[in-house]
Structures are given as structure tokens and as C-alpha cells.
């Protein structure tokens, strides 16, 4: 708890309380600043599967900028400033030089939208503290974990656990799993298999999807997709729901409404477990959705949310630790006192065993919020949020 007064003098209070000057223009300019880096590797995207959602060019960055703005508003009252150094590239070979350049300027806290292998390269720089907003890989939270690598976005295991809990509550226990050919698809399907086991679901059919969806824009393309989907699902053992693993958003939409038996679709399409969705309006989320739309002119995506949350986590640690020194801010991020609000009705904090941010997971349909996991009834000794993803007893991370 801190009390901040406009007296201009600094007084240390009982529980690490500091008094700071109220914002005047001069004071704001002189105020100590915490510089935060934003480093993204954006590989050129293939054509989106639908024209209604063209992939935004500034995805993630806009979330970080809004987080910076929110931190700055608070900083006016605490006498702190925050700056954001942005580096977004399409060339993998530029990533490490850009990181070293940031470190050279004393920027140690870096929000990273990088694939898993590049994150590990970056984490090999001992001065860097990375906040992962782009890589859901479970390996990064387990055998490949790093002490200086925090994860703001949920792991695949958290997403699939969130879906599995909901299916268990619905008693939709028999799953048909369709996995795409991409490496992310395979890892998502693997996470789904583990989640099914963990929550007592059965995978009664497990098939790779190999059909090339390119035909959808040709005239009568819908016919070939419908025929393929019907063939794919024909003769499957009795199942309750079809789970698709298509992280590149390539073909996952091609199965709904076209299965041989009338069955709903979930996973990477259909009913989607996710950190964020434009349909989410609870717990004050409407405010954040509106602020984001006013700034960016589009809806907030999961990547924007993760980047916003990364900035807010850093801002919160700076305000509570009353410091803009990276060491102190990092120490506070790791401390048990750290918590940040994320518009999902629960305080969020980092798991001390793998640096993963514990958080509720939304289950979103295309136009409505269906549910939020953890589902009521899945109990845990310390936090119900830890029923999602790798819990302390099963973690393979030994670096933290």
C-alpha cells in the first residue's frame, strides 16, 4: 500500500510507501522513466481463410501501445514515466541484433512476439527479461523453460484444459480429433490428447486433415469442401463433438455444418478456448474493448490482449515497487505480492514454477461468450486457475 502526496518531498512509509510529487509538466519530464522493448518477428502471412477478418498489420503492437498509455496515466500520479521501443521485422536475422541494440540501451524488459526457437535464442542473453506474448508452446513452460522468460499468453495445455473442463461439465465425453499438418497443429492436438486424459474424456477418432482448402474461392468450391468434410467424418465411431487443431486458421472452418453426423465443432475454430475475444464484455471488459477500438480502429485480438497485459504487468510492478529500475521491477514481478487485473474477474499472477501467468480462459463462439474456465467444481488447493496447464507437481521446468 502506498500513499502518494503532492508534497514534493519523499518520505518512506511503513510498508514501503513513497510520497511522490503530483504531476506538473516539469515534474513529468524529469520523472524517472522505465524503457520497455517490443520485439516482434512477423513472417508474411498466407491468404486469410476469410475476407471478413483481414489480419491486422499492427496486431500486438496496438495492444502494447494501449498498455503503455494506461501505464502513463497511472505514472502521472506516481511520478513515473514509461517508454516503448518498438522493433517489428519480417527478417529473422534482424531479431538478435535488434535485441542486443535494446540491451545496449539499458532496455531489459522486452515484450516478445517471437516463435519458440527465437525466444530461446533471445533468452540466452543473460541481461534480457522476456515477456512472451506469441508462443503458446508447452515446451517453453517445461523442459525448455528459462528463468528470464515469462509467459503472458496461455500455453496450449491451458487452452485445451479449459476446453476439456467445459466438455466434461457438459458430459460431451467422446471426441473426434482432427489435426492439421502444421507443427503448431500437431502440438495443439497433442495438448488436446493430454487434456482429454486429464479430464476423463475419450478420443474415439483421431485423424489428420490433409485436404488442401485452396478450392474455396473457386466457383462451386463449397461443394468440394462439403464432400471432403462428409467423407472425412463418415463412419466415425459415435462422438459428441469434433475438435479441430488448425492454428494457421486454414481449414478449421471447413468442417462445421458439413460433418456427416450433426455435431458441433470446437478447438482452434468453432468454440475456441482463448485469452481474449471481441465477444467478451464481462468484468468491465467493455471498457477495454472500447478504448482499444477507439485507438486502433479495429477489435482487440488475443495477441493484442497479451501485449496489453504484458505492459500492464510491467506497469503494475513498477508502481507497486515504486521503482523504474529494471532490477526492482523484475524482482517485483517474481514476488508473491505481484498481481494484475486483466478484465476476466480474477487477479492474475505468475506461477513460480514456470513463469506462466495464471489466468481464466474464455470459451468464445463467433458472436457470443459461451463460458469461462476453470469451470466451477474443478477444485485446487491453492488457486483454481492452476487446474489449467502444467501444475506444480507435474512441471518439467527446473530453471525457475
Amino acid at each position: 500500500m502506498a500513499v502518494l502526496r503532492p508534497s514534493g518531498r519523499r518520505a518512506l512509509l511503513a510498508s514501503a510507501l513513497l510520497a511522490a510529487a503530483l504531476p506538473t509538466v516539469a515534474a513529468a519530464e524529469e520523472a524517472p522513466a522505465l524503457a520497455i522493448g517490443y520485439l516482434a518477428l512477423k513472417l508474411p502471412r498466407q491468404l486469410p481463410s476469410t475476407l471478413i477478418e483481414p489480419p491486422p498489420q499492427d496486431e500486438g503492437l496496438q495492444g502494447a501501445r494501449l498498455g503503455l498509455k494506461d501505464n502513463a496515466t497511472t505514472g502521472r500520479f506516481t511520478g513515473q514515466r514509461f517508454t516503448l521501443e518498438e522493433h517489428r521485422t519480417e527478417a529473422a536475422e534482424e531479431v538478435m541484433p535488434a535485441l542486443r541494440d535494446m540491451l545496449g540501451k539499458g532496455i531489459r524488459l522486452i515484450v516478445a512476439d517471437l516463435p519458440a526457437d527465437m525466444l530461446l535464442q533471445a533468452a540466452a542473453e543473460p541481461q534480457a527479461v522476456l515477456l512472451n506474448v506469441g508462443a503458446p508452446d508447452d515446451a517453453l513452460r517445461n523442459e525448455a523453460c528459462r528463468r528470464n522468460l515469462f509467459h503472458v499468453l496461455p500455453s496450449r495445455a491451458m487452452l485445451t484444459d479449459a476446453l476439456a473442463q467445459y466438455l466434461a461439465v457438459k458430459r460431451w465425453r467422446n471426441l473426434f480429433l482432427a489435426a492439421g499438418p502444421g507443427p503448431g497443429d500437431r502440438l495443439y492436438a497433442e495438448a488436446m490428447r493430454r487434456a482429454a486424459k486429464k479430464f476423463g474424456l475419450r478420443i474415439v477418432a483421431d485423424k489428420p486433415w490433409t485436404h488442401d482448402p485452396g478450392a474455396q474461392r473457386t466457383d462451386t468450391g463449397h461443394m468440394s469442401i462439403a464432400a471432403e468434410a462428409a467423407r472425412f467424418t463418415q463412419g466415425a465411431p459415435g462422438y459428441d463433438i469434433l475438435v479441430v487443431a488448425d492454428e494457421t486458421d486454414d481449414w478449421g472452418e471447413s468442417l462445421a455444418w458439413r460433418t456427416t453426423d450433426p455435431r458441433p465443432v470446437a478447438g482452434t475454430q468453432g468454440l475456441v478456448p482463448t485469452i481474449w475475444s471481441p465477444v467478451h464484455e464481462q468484468w468491465g471488459a467493455t471498457q477495454l474493448q472500447r478504448r482499444f477500438r477507439a485507438q486502433a480502429g479495429r477489435v482487440m485480438t488475443p495477441l493484442d490482449q497479451a501485449a496489453w497485459l504484458a505492459l500492464r504487468a510491467i506497469g503494475e510492478a513498477a508502481v507497486r515497487s515504486q521503482s523504474t529500475e529494471p532490477e526492482k521491477v523484475i524482482a517485483y514481478l517474481r514476488s508473491p505480492a505481484f498481481e494484475v487485473a486483466g478484465f476476466k474477474g480474477a487477479k492474475l499472477s505468475f506461477r513460480d514454477w514456470d513463469n506462466q501467468l495464471r489466468q481464466p480462459i474464455l470459451l468464445a463462439g463467433p458472436r457470443s461468450l459461451v463460458s469461462v474456465s476453470p469451470q466451477p467444481g474443478f477444485q485446487h488447493r491453492t488457486s483454481e486457475l492452476d487446474t489449467l496447464g502444467a501444475d506444480r507437481p507435474e512441471t518439467q521446468c527446473h530453471a525457475s
Binding site: 502518494l4 510507501l17 506516481t78 508502481v319 498481481e339 480474477a346
Partner: protein
Amino acid sequence: MPRILTLPAALLLAGALLAGNGARAETIMVSNEKDNTISVLDGETLKVVQTVKVGERPRGIVLSKDGRFLYVCAGDSDRVDVVDTTSWKVVRRLPSGSDPERAALHPDGRRLYVANEDDNLVTVVDVERGVVLQEIPVGVEPEGMGLSPDGRYVVNTSETTNMAHVIDAGSGKIIANVLVGARPRYALWQPDGKRFWVSSEIGGTLSLISADDWKVVGQVSFSIPGVPREAIQPVGMAFSADASKLFVTLGPANRVAVVDVATREVQRMLLVGQRVWNLALSADGSKLYTTNGVSNDLSVVDIEAMRVTRSVPVGQAPWGVVVKP
């Protein structure tokens, strides 16, 4: 914001004397966030006697000093509607700044302090002239508004900045910023004017702040067997008539906590409707009314018996509640 909370304690005490023997019928007003109405209930029969159409997403409601008007924060319409409490019609619209969520009326009866949730401002509105007097920049997502009983200080809480901003009502300047638990939503002064309480929805705590030096001098946290910690989300607060007890709504925990003001101990938990938001004391101090946002009803708590005696259906997503004696 339930206007009753900022009524002078004397009035509450006077009301309390009437308790027990058929206090005269009061009027209960409830804002319904989703169907854009105010439900008006007869305090004796607990029946809805009027439903007043107002602007979009009405949440915070405040009674004028003489009780003739109800000020309604219509967030999505970006205005404050003024409802006549005899004709039950919207008779005026006040400017409010963007997205008004809660408001508090100065003891002078003229200055209405409005929290603009999506603009990081507190807007001061002259309710007689219908003009904006001042805009005060505060933290991100301002919500809670609490006037000190003597009218010297306005406390605003900002939900994402996690602070209580103490504003000098005379100059409109912020004189202190107090860091509190995550997502502070409501500020309530003790009737003695010596301290104020702030509820933190996500932090799950109450902070008690002294007006001597604006320091946090106490904290209250809650635990309920069988209820996840995350579901305990304190928002609305109201004092008992003698100010010895503080009633606190706990949101999705579906309970009202009873806190002993002197010892700061949680004495009781009262089970009410679902997603309880706000609450107000009856004029005679014998009952509490709570708005339950998910079960769409008003719970009536008998304070002496410490139990819920009635549940009254109102509109959709009831949020604010005030009582007119």
C-alpha cells in the same frame, strides 16, 4: 451510488428511532443496467409501482437533496437523466462527459461529481444550471465517488490505475493519490468524516484510509468456505444506521459481508441473490436492499435478524439502488 449512504448520520439515526412500529412507506429505486429502466418499488408492499424509461445502460443513481429528483448515470447515452420522483418522468438531461458510471452529490445539493469511465475524468456538473463546471483528470477507468460529510473532499477510485484520488472539492485539485488493492470500485466516508473505505473488486479487499494523512490504516479481507477466492469481489458498501457495522457486497460470491467497523472483523456472511452489486439501507435503518445483477432481483435483509427475508423481481441486470424516505 445509493444516495442514502451520504445522508448525514443524524438523519439515519432519526430514521432508526422510527424502526419497529410501521415506519411510513418509503420508495426504493433500482437502476436496471440491461433494460434501460428504473424500477420504483413501494417500501411497504415491495411491489414495483413504476418503471421509468431512461437512457442506455443506467448504473449509478443519486437522489437530489430534497428527494424530488433522481439523477441517473446513463453510461451508453453519455448523459445524466433527471427523473422527477412524483411524475416518474425524465424531466431534464444533464451533460455528464463520456460514459458516466457513478456519481455523488455535494452536500450543497448543486455539484454532482460524475466518474467518466472511458475518459479518465471526473466531471463536475451544476445540476441547477445544467452545465459542466469542471473536468478533473484522474486515473484509468474512474468509478467510485465518495463525498466527505463536510463536503471538503471528493474521493474517486480508478479501476485500472488502482488508486483512490482525493480531490479538494473547493479547488478541484487532486491533493493525494492512495494506492489500494486491484480494481477499486467504491469509496465510502465514515459519517464522522475521519476515514474512508475503498473496496477492491479484484484485490478482494477493503482499504481504510485516514483523512489525517491519507495513509492506509487498515485492511479487511474475506474468505468463505467452499467459495473460490476469485469469486469474492467486494464492490458496494453501506453503513448501518449507527455506523458500527459496514455491509459489503461480494459480487459473484452472492453474499453480503458484515464488518465490525471498530475491530474490522468480518462478523457474518449473508447469502443474497446472484452477482450482488450494490446496496442501500432502508430509511428506518432496519433493512438492507441489495441489487443482484444476475438473478435480476432485489434481496431484502432484516438487519436485526441478520437474514434475508424477501427476494423481489425487478428489471434486467439491476445495479444501483437508493431509498427515498
